[in-house]
Symmetry: C2
Amino acid sequence: MIDNDRRNLLLCALLAPLASNVLPASAADTPMPEHRMPDMGPEMDKVQWMGNEEIAMLVYPGMTVMDLVGPHCMFGSLMGAKIHIVAKSLDPVTSDAGLTVVPNATFDTCPRDLTVLFTPGGTDGTLAAASDSATLTFMADRGARAKYVTSVCSGSLILGAAGLLKGYKATSHWSCRAALAGFGAIPTEARVVRDRNRVTGAGVTAGLDFGLAMVAELRDRIYAECTQLMSEYDPHPPFDAGSMKTAPPLVKSAMIELVADFSKKAEALAGMTKI
Amino acid sequence: MIDNDRRNLLLCALLAPLASNVLPASAADTPMPEHRMPDMGPEMDKVQWMGNEEIAMLVYPGMTVMDLVGPHCMFGSLMGAKIHIVAKSLDPVTSDAGLTVVPNATFDTCPRDLTVLFTPGGTDGTLAAASDSATLTFMADRGARAKYVTSVCSGSLILGAAGLLKGYKATSHWSCRAALAGFGAIPTEARVVRDRNRVTGAGVTAGLDFGLAMVAELRDRIYAECTQLMSEYDPHPPFDAGSMKTAPPLVKSAMIELVADFSKKAEALAGMTKI
C-alpha cells in the first residue's frame, strides 16, 4: 500500500509547472489524501515518474532567452530533477532581446557531476561566451563528465569552442551551422541531432523539440507525452517560413544577408576564416 | 538617397535578437556603411520595418515563464517597439518552474497608453494574480485603452477577472478554458483566437503562434515570416500528444486528473462553482 500510495503521489506531482497547485516541489513526502490518482494500469506503472537529474543550463549576457526557456519548459516537468541556472556570477543576465534572468548557481557552485549540461545560443553574446576562457573551462570540465552534453541554436558554437564536439555530428542555427566544422564537428541538418551523448538542437524554437526528446530520453516516452499535453505543444505556425526550405525566397535572401556578418564571425571563431 | 539608405539601415537592424551584432538597438541613426542591404524590390519596400509599439507584458510569481517568452521571442523582433516587463514592483519574479526574471516597469511606471497589453498564465500564481486587486486594477485600466488586449494560456483568467473578456470569444489552456464563460466570455477552442482587439492563445507553447500572428498584425506578413525564419520556427514535435485531440487516452486521463483541482479552482474564481 505504501508503494501504491507513493506512486499515486508521484503521479499527482507530475509536471511541476502546471501541477504546482497540487504539490509543491519541496513537499514530496507530504501525504495528499485529496489528490490520489486512480490506478492507471501497468503501462503507467512502468514509467519512471521520479528522478534525480542534475541539469545545468548556462546563461550569459546576450543569449537568446527563448533558447533557454524552450528546453526549461520541458525540463521543468521532471519531478525530482534539479535545474541549475549557471553563470559566472549570480548577477542578473540580460538577453539579446532585453529580458533579464537571475542565475542560481555559478561556475564554482554548480555540481561537478551533471546529468545534462546545456547551453543556449545568441549572436554577439554567444561569440563572446565562446571566446571567454572561464566559460570554456567550465564547459570543458563539466562536459567531460556530464551524461549528456547539449545545446540549442548557436549554443553549439560554445560546445565546439570548448572542444566538446570533435568528431560528433551536431546542429545549430542555420546561420552558423557550417562553422561547426571548424571545431571538428560534423554539421548536420536536422531539428534535433543526437550523436552518442551529444544532443544539439537547431535554431531558437527547436529547443521545444529538443527538450521533449530529452524528457523521453531521461524518463520515458509516456512522461514526454504528458509534458507535451501539459505544455499544449501542438504547434500551428500561422506562416510557413520557419526553415530555409520553406521560407519565401525574398525572406530567405534578406535574412541571410542580415546575419552574414554573424555567420562570418562564427567561422572566424571556429578558425575557418579570418575576418 | 537618404530614404534608400534609411530603408537599408532599417532592414539591417531587423529582428533585433539575431541582428544584435549588426546594429545595437540604440544606434538607429548611426550610419552602417558596411552592412547595406541590396535593394530588395517593391515588395520589401512596402513593409513597415520600423514602428513604435508600446508592449506591456505582465509578470507575477508562479507564472509559467514559457507563456511569457514565446511571445517575447516574437515581439523582440519588432524594431522600434518598446517591451515593458511589468510587475507590482521591480523585485525579481520567480516562475512556477523556478526561473527568475527581473521586471523593468511597475504598475505605476508602465506607460498608460499601450499598443499591446499581455499576460502569461500559470496555475496557483495565476489564480492569485487574478484575485489581486492591484493587478486587476492595472489590467482593467491599461486594457480599457490598449490597442490589443492579449494573453497566452491561463492568462485569459486574469483578463476575464479584470472584466476584459465580457462578450468576447477567447481561449486558454485546455484545463481552464471552460471557466472563461464565468467571466462572460465565449470559450473558443483554437490555437489563437481573435475577437475584435482581444487576442488570446491556447496553452503555454501557443505563445509562439500567438506572437507570430501579432507580429503580422502589428507590421506585415513578410515581417512575421522574417521573424519566423530567424527563430527557425519549423516545429517537429517528436511525439503527437500536444492536444486533447491527439494525446493517447492514458496520457489524457492522467493529465485531466492531475489538473482537476486547478480546473475547479478556475471555475470557482469565475463564479461558476464554489469549492
